[in-house]
Symmetry: C2
Subunit: 200 residues, 2 copies
DNA sequence: CCCGACCGACCGACTGGTCGGTATGATGAA
DNA sequence: TTCATCATACCGACCAGTCGGTCGGTCGGG
């Protein structure tokens, strides 16, 4: 089905690069246009506004990440293993794509209040993915009952911050190095006893 | 000892309100001026630029929070108790000052990349506060050895996200309700066995 | 000859920062 | 006491650059 990328896709690719580098406000539509083989009018034929273009890019990236997580999760049946592999997937995926990480985790905010809704949407989505598996783990009896709603956000926040620190300071290099600690602390936090882990 | 607040302070107060409400980029200097009994020229006599004004406000708030934490921490000697009370103080302080929380945690992002440095600075400060006490706890033997560098950022991220979720969705109301869960999960994560906690 | 896709010069709203000017009070010489 | 002088604090109309978005027009295929 895929021939040459559609104009829409080409625009989004260019937008992704510039938005990630400069953030929302410091990005001029003219710059995105410059990176495209298209004119401003042409771009505006495909996207009605800067805001919508930005959202489209964010959605796209969010979807890709979510898909990757879901794919990796699907290979495991027990909840704890799923949680572990989800953490791994996020750290690996974003760890090897600095630009995407920055856009997804940081630049999104740069819109100001208009972004509030999207940010809730995006983060909640990943939080509920975690929540589902925490709930499952509780049902399975692998971990004691907890407030999975809050804990899932706690996890998202924890991972988010570790990634942001890496984005800004470069430490740890590579981020993946933080994975064992992250797993150990988060899992122990919900009551999983230490054990020999499977993946590095 | 309180006379009339200095012009500088009056400007910062006005700025705080507007920045918190609209975020950096969507705030016009003219609006801050409007909220002051001062003219634009007068404002620019005290602050050289919008950016500097914003940073001044952020620093001020950061300091206040840090002071409050330090004061509460000083009352405890054992490291675990300090960590607990630090968590409590943050949740309470920001929980009862939504506006400040929003400004401190969210609104800076709309500055774009200029905010990077300040964000590292601010978050690292709180992270190392946590790190110090985690290190202490390890020394004391209250918890097993861990990578306190990463874990401290994990904590900051966790608390940050819980607060942001509250800012955006209002849940839990009040945020303080998340405190027991936060304490329990984070402390258990670093290896503190469950016990009867003192504070609610 | 119509229409979707695209072009790019242009518009106008907005905003950070400036600058010539003013009010007030301190200083100090006559 | 008085008045010239000067610095500080403050005023607000104005400017110049920026940028999202528009619109009249082009063009090729069906």
């Amino acid at each position: 089905m895929k021939t040459r990328p559609t104009a829409r896709d080409r625009i989004m690719e260019a937008a992704e690069v510039v938005f990630a580098e400069k953030g929302y406000h410091d990005t001029a539509m003219d710059e995105i246009v410059r990176r495209t083989d298209m004119s401003k009018g042409g771009l505006y034929f495909h996207f009605p506004s800067k805001e919508r273009l930005f959202f489209a890019v964010m959605d796209h990236l969010g979807n890709r990440l979510a898909e990757r997580i879901n794919a990796s999760i699907a290979q495991e049946s027990d909840a704890i293993a799923r949680l572990e592999i989800a953490l791994t997937t996020v750290l690996e995926s974003l760890g090897k794509r600095r630009r995407l990480a920055k856009l997804l985790l940081v630049q999104g905010y740069s819109m100001g209040n208009a972004f509030e809704k999207k940010r809730i949407e995006t983060y909640s989505r990943f939080a509920s993915l975690i929540k589902d598996n925490l709930d499952l783990a509780v049902e399975e009896g692998s971990i004691p009952p907890i407030d999975t709603e809050i804990v899932s956000h706690l996890w998202v926040g924890a991972v988010n911050e570790v990634l942001i620190r890496w984005l800004y300071t470069g430490k740890p290099a590579p981020v993946k190095e933080a994975l064992p600690v992250l797993k150990k602390i988060l899992l122990r936090g919900v009551g999983v006893e230490a054990k020999v882990s499977i993946g590095g």
